[in-house]
């Protein structure tokens, strides 16, 4: 508690506060632009943080995450285009409500729900992270290995229903990460004679290529349909805040759902919003309103997706396992700043760990104030033509990759992965699993090899040690669930 308070007093000074505000505002604005999103912005700004103090860099990036997930609400409500995947469920009710002349009511509900969801989940973040980190110090190599495998299976299982392709994507990410020097022996692997690959595929070009450039390609080839836009003002939004009072039960339930789904490694805000929306619809007395402008639907989706942000930070800080794809990029940020993600972070770099926790709360407050006052203006930003956005983003990508290593080879690598990423998405492979596989492969390999050395080549401890066994059982259950549910459904529909 003392360290958390110390972090607050450190962050509530001009320079850190500036970075939190900057990150939050940038996150909201970029989150509101369909096709961009916090992951892209964090990846793009990562090279610029090389020149910053580690704590300031990380609090800015975390603030982008908080702002970005919330920003998706604006274009979802006013343009029928979710700014982020987390806002897909919000679109279903916020846009119909906005088009019926109640844009301010939609935004008001969404912004307040986002804020309260973020505040409730922050309590879990502050309370659970240090304890979980303490508990995780008991983890051995096989516990971490089992956790990594569970994270990969989990994200594959929830990725648009394509478990098999999600796992293929994750293994492809593994394959990409393997190229380069073996950490234990220094042997160069899979460079096929190219000296430029002796260091492997670097984090930044791979990340920017898979995430950003592939999206630029999609922007280029996809349809650019004009959309009828709703509009609103800050005063209208503020006048509608009273609508929120009757939804306190929904907010509470959705925030808790969002927090716990966010904590599950590899899942994230989009799934949290979907689950919370479905649960709320099932228990609602006005089911017929869902999809047509239901207040409950907006509140459920927005509380949950914002709650999942802080929930996802729990395994990131405590275990060094990303709670979502954006967290995978944040792990990259920690590595780039020479910080070791994992339970040791609280011991060795408490100012970073508690700084992230404190920044998440401050960013949530700034997000609320900014969105209430500027939502109407931000919607205009969302209409920036793709013909301006795409080349500008590509230029930033080139700058970011080149300045990191001064090698134009890495720019070509980025483009190559951009094309690969686009083709993988065309084939239905979720890119998030590829990125997670790439980030988690070194951890998985290192823990597997440590475990084999520790237990004289035996894998049995993965099922004899209780915590590892629990993760293994969860993984097997997630793998088996699609088959089980399919056969149950077939039996239900079978003719008598």
């Amino acid at each position: 508690m003392e360290q958390l308070l110390a972090s607050f007093s450190q962050l509530l000074t001009p320079v850190p506060l500036f970075f939190i505000a900057l990150g939050t505002i940038l996150g909201v604005v970029i989150g509101a632009i369909p096709g961009l999103g916090p992951a892209m912005l964090i990846a793009l700004l990562l090279p610029l943080t090389f020149y910053m103090d580690s704590v300031n860099a990380l609090i800015m990036l975390v603030s982008i995450y908080v702002g970005g997930i919330s920003g998706g609400l604006i274009s979802a409500a006013l343009l029928k285009m979710p700014g982020t995947p987390a806002a897909i469920m919000t679109t279903m009710d916020a846009y119909p409500m906005a088009m019926s002349g109640q844009a301010s009511r939609a935004l008001s509900l969404g912004v307040i729900a986002s804020f309260v969801g973020g505040m409730i989940s922050w309590v879990f973040l502050a309370a659970l992270s240090p304890s979980l980190a303490e508990f995780a110090l008991r983890f051995g190599p096989y516990e971490f290995l089992a956790l990594v495998l569970m994270a990969l299976i989990l994200i594959s299982a929830v990725s648009q229903g394509a478990l098999l392709k999600g796992l293929i994507g994750a293994l492809f990410g593994f394959g990409v990460a393997i190229v380069g020097p073996d950490v234990a022996s220094g042997v160069i692997r899979l460079n096929f004679g190219y000296d430029e690959l002796n260091a492997g595929f670097r984090l930044l070009p791979t990340l920017l290529g898979l995430f950003v450039v592939s999206q630029l390609i999609e922007m280029l080839v996809g349809n650019q349909k004009p959309v009828q836009q709703a509009s609103t003002t800050a005063m209208d939004i503020l006048r509608n805040t009273g609508n929120m009072v009757k939804h306190w039960g929904n907010v509470l339930r959705s925030s808790v759902i969002g927090t716990w789904i966010g904590i599950l490694p590899g899942v994230g805000s989009a799934v949290a919003a979907i689950v919370s929306y479905s649960v709320t619809r099932n228990v609602s007395k006005k089911k017929e309103e869902f999809g047509k402008g239901s207040e409950e639907g907006i509140v459920a989706a927005e509380s949950a997706n914002n709650a999942a942000v802080n929930g996802a930070l729990v395994p990131l800080i405590a275990l060094g396992i990303p709670g979502s794809v954006v967290d995978a990029i944040l792990i990259g940020a920690l590595i780039v700043h020479d910080l070791q993600p994992g339970p040791g972070l609280f011991r060795e770099q408490p100012q970073v760990a508690y700084g992230i926790i404190a920044a998440a709360l401050i960013a949530n407050i700034i997000m609320f104030a900014f969105m209430i006052t500027c939502a109407g203006y931000i919607a205009k930003v969302a209409k920036i033509p793709k013909s301006l956005l795409a080349p500008a983003i590509l230029v930033f990508c080139i700058i970011g990759v080149f300045t990191a290593t001064n090698r134009f080879f890495d720019v070509w690598i980025m483009l190559g992965f951009g094309v690969i990423g686009y083709l993988l998405r065309r084939a239905g492979v979720p890119i998030g699993t590829v990125v997670l596989g790439f980030i988690l492969a070194p951890i998985a390999e290192s823990e597997l090899r440590n475990g084999l050395m520790l237990y004289n080549g035996s894998l049995w401890p993965m099922v004899t040690r209780p915590i590892a066994l629990a993760f293994v059982i969860a993984s097997v259950a997630m793998l088996a669930w699609p088959l089980v549910s399919k056969s149950l459904a077939a039996r239900r529909h079978a003719p008598d």
Partner: protein
């Protein structure tokens, strides 16, 4: 739509099988370790085997027209919209020329970037007076403004001549 999805699945499975063969070959070549049970070749071999296995399952599912292999349409990246091929090709060509001019150091970063953004915007954007003014302002801000900040203030080297 289903035939196209199944064709994409077959293609994906075949490509992944090739990649797993490459990984397997690369891993097989690596020396075993004298000090630990699993040497540097272990992870490539494990990854290759798992990837090959899953790709075979995908291939079999696709060939048998099994629905489990499909993904919801909205999860896939957009395919080429109608009528966009000439613009797409032109934008790709312009982007490639921009990259080559930086890689081969034919033009300074500032100049190359301004020209690129204007060219891209003219191909894919609106041609009205306001659109052109915004385009030129953006090109100048990015090409000149950003490169001056990076080179003069942050002392960072940029690609190009």
């Amino acid at each position: 739509m289903q035939n196209k999805a199944l064709r994409d699945d077959v293609l994906l499975a075949l490509v992944m099988l090739i990649i797993s063969a490459i990984l397997f070959y690369g891993g097989w070549q690596l020396p075993a370790s004298r000090w630990e049970p699993m040497g540097p070749g272990g992870m490539p071999l494990i990854t290759a085997s798992a990837l090959a296995g899953l790709s075979l399952i995908l291939l079999v599912q696709a060939l048998l027209k099994h629905r489990l292999a499909e993904t919801a349409d909205q999860a896939r990246a957009s395919s080429l919209a109608e009528g966009r091929l000439p613009k797409v090709l032109a934008c790709v060509a312009v982007s490639f020329v921009y990259l080559l001019s930086l890689a081969l150091e034919l033009l300074p970063f500032m100049v190359a970037t301004v020209v690129y953004i204007i060219a891209y915007g003219l191909i894919d954007g609106g041609r009205g007076r306001r659109d052109l003014m915004v385009l030129v302002a953006t090109a100048v801000a990015l090409g000149i403004g950003v490169s001056l900040i990076l080179t003069e203030i942050l002392i960072v080297q940029l690609p190009g001549a």
